[in-house]
């Protein structure tokens, strides 16, 4: 959604703020009128929630260099916290629940970020796995979190802010889009601020960063807090705007990997990368599945098709990574530069 113009743009005729503004214009003014409910419910809503989660993880992993396998846990914390704040705090507006949910996720993020002060790389990844399993266990174990609902599934409340109800697919899309735009903008501001530069310093060389006076401890915990906050809010979107029902099992390790793949495929240390990666991981499997059932639906049953789609998807991802190890973002930049060169010659 929000393409951020690269600093190294070869074309200086277009100001950097223009593409994202145009894109937002399309997303706000055109898409709601031409989209079908399938486009919103099955493509754009999961895309927006996962993109935002990708942005969050990219701050932690891409910019600050701390590998995390616990993203789904923070999604779950966000979703369940928002549900409980909304349910238990009388008169709290929805936006308040969402912010508190983000803060709850940030608090959990800081707790599970503490090992990062001692651990690095794979060891840290393994310790974030603890977050993944602990949160899922706690949400299943204590039925209080799901308001003692018999099956442990929670029903999302209706979305409404300041008396405006965001009902229907389009309403929930606009709600998600607004939240994602706001947080992405803040994330973008953050990574180009002093804190953002501290993240990169810590990632590139921790010792050097310490020597030039970067507060490493504070920086790492800040990265965990902000990243978890954003992922927590993404969890609210996932639960309230997209699925409208939540069970802890929906936030399993697979989801954590999915978010990690989004930023690896999209491009580490890039805000745009999260959107590229999410688009690929949401749309490609669906497109393959539609194509498969369209072409071969009469020949094979849906199980065979699904298996073959997985093989194709895996092969495509491997191919992408071999051809463009820096992710879709740098592929995109290359295409843009080439086309600018071609247009420049004309």
């Amino acid at each position: 959604m929000t393409a951020i113009a690269s600093e190294f743009s070869s074309s200086h005729r277009i100001p950097g703020w223009l593409p994202p503004v145009l894109l937002l214009g399309v997303a706000y003014l055109i898409v709601p009128f031409i989209g079908t409910s399938y486009l919103f419910e099955a493509i754009l809503l999961p895309f927006l929630a996962l993109s935002l989660a990708g942005v969050g993880l990219n701050i932690l992993t891409g910019y600050a260099g701390q590998v995390s396998l616990g993203s789904a846990a923070f999604l779950a914390v966000g979703a369940f916290a928002a549900y409980n704040f909304n349910l238990r705090v009388e008169g709290l507006p929805l936006i308040g629940s969402i912010i508190l949910a983000g803060l709850a996720a940030a608090a959990i993020g800081i707790v599970f970020g503490l090992p990062s002060l001692r651990l690095k790389g794979f060891y840290l990844a393994v310790s974030t796995l603890a977050a993944q399993f602990f949160v899922q266990w706690a949400l299943t174990k204590f039925s209080w979190f799901s308001n003692d609902s018999a099956s442990g599934v929670i029903d999302a409340p209706a979305l409404s802010i300041a008396g405006i109800a965001f009902n229907g697919a389009v309403g929930r899309y606009l709600f998600s889009l607004t939240v994602v735009t706001l947080l992405t903008f803040l994330a973008y501001r953050l990574v180009s601020s002093q804190s953002g530069r501290n993240f990169i310093a810590v990632r590139d060389n921790e010792t050097a960063a310490r020597i030039i006076g970067v507060p490493v401890l504070k920086t790492k915990l800040l990265a965990f807090a902000i990243s978890s906050f954003i992922i927590g809010v993404a969890g609210v979107l996932w639960a309230f705007a997209y699925l409208r029902t939540v069970e802890p099992a929906g936030f399993n390790l697979d989801r954590s990997f999915q978010i990690l793949f989004i930023i690896i495929i999209g491009g580490l240390a890039s805000i745009r990368g999260a959107f590229f990666g999410a688009a690929l991981l949401v749309i490609l499997p669906l497109a393959l599945s539609r194509l498969g059932s369209f072409l071969l639906g009469d020949v094979f049953n849906s199980g065979v098709l699904d298996m073959s789609q997985r093989i194709v998807l895996g092969a495509l991802i491997i191919l992408f990574l071999i051809l463009e190890p820096d992710g879709l973002v740098s592929l995109w930049d290359r295409i843009r530069k080439r086309s600018a060169a071609v247009f420049g010659r004309m």
Partner: protein
Amino acid sequence: MTIFNKLKVAAIAAGLSLAIALPAAHADEQYFPLQSYRVGPYAAGGTGFFGGFIDYLNLINTRDGGVNGVKLTWSEGETQYEVERGVEVYERLKNNPGVAAWNPLSVGIAYAMIDRITQDKVPLITINHGRTDSTDGRVFPYVFPLLLNPYSETSGIVNYIASKEGGLENLKGKKLVVLYHGSPYGKETIPIYELLAKKYGFELQQIEVPHPGNEQQAQWLTIRRAKPDYVVLRGWGVMNPVALKSAAKVGFPVDHIVGNVWSNSEEDAIPAGEAAKGYTAITTQASGAEYPVVKEIIKTLYDNGKGNLEDKSRIGSVYHNLGIVNGILNVEAIRIAQEKFGKRTLTGDEVRWGFEHLQLDPARVEALGAKGLFHSINVTWDNHEGNGYVTFQQWDGKKWNVVSDWIAPDWTLLRPIIEKSAEAYAAEKGIKLRTSEQAEAATN
């Protein structure tokens, strides 16, 4: 940079054309969107159930030319029992013309669909599972946990154990462990077991097995320490054979394990081998291929290479027969609704009316070639379960043998609990209770 916008537009256009590229409408067809699962840890249940369901629809088309001339159509979308995929398939298939009913065979997916199908006014069938309080048709007009809701199942199992002990009064002081699948489906019965334990005075311990359930050492060691009189296995998929094998390992007697309605198939018992011999489980439909309707499916479809199951030895298995029973119930609901609204493609709301008048007595069940396959059903506008009967079957190492009569769960005990829960849901959601007059009117 305009290329990006162009790409974006192209992507949206592609998405739109995908969404529009659906089969065109035909006159007099009734369509079943199937959120099936043929891969993943629950594939055995999915292939058997959807295989039986499709076989029965196919039989009606081939043998009778449809329901009073209205052809039945269907298409499948793979869900792998995952909620997100279930929602995607729902969005993909819901705009096809003439949708009769949804049959996702997943509690998680069903929960995610309740709001959506209520808005669309299309029935959602959760045969033998689902959300218990959706039995109350006053609050859930479009949801049907047909034949056996989870509470009835629980009551049936407790009554069966009581009969083995010589009466409900003998349950006092006995110890029961419920080993349940860590999913919305598995947790659904936690409160009702607690309630029955209090009522009948038996000691109760409920132990969760995390999804998918292929590791149960810890749980069975706990069970060995607890020394219960009976273990109720409320499993699903791979969890069941693993439970039976782990029980054998810790030396728990298999004839004191009672399986619930999703732990009762050949696919649960066969992989456990010797460990399953003597295992008893509840069922709403008998297994075996000796019933006339199953025989006709073999003759009409499988002998002509048109059957849906790839493995013919699974014909007449528990899941396959459940799929067939589900097919019977769906088709008969359409037939009943056609009597009122005309022999044409019905709207979802008209099919809902059909389900609310789905009354098949044993004589009608026999006429449908399903005598002994299942007992009867009696759905009304406010009772969406339809008072199904249960029976118990024991595994002899090769096949299931029925070891009890058709037993009625204790509906009068359960109904007030269900109504209370449904009313609480209605209050939370701001739903006004439906009346029988409103139920009688169906919209086009």
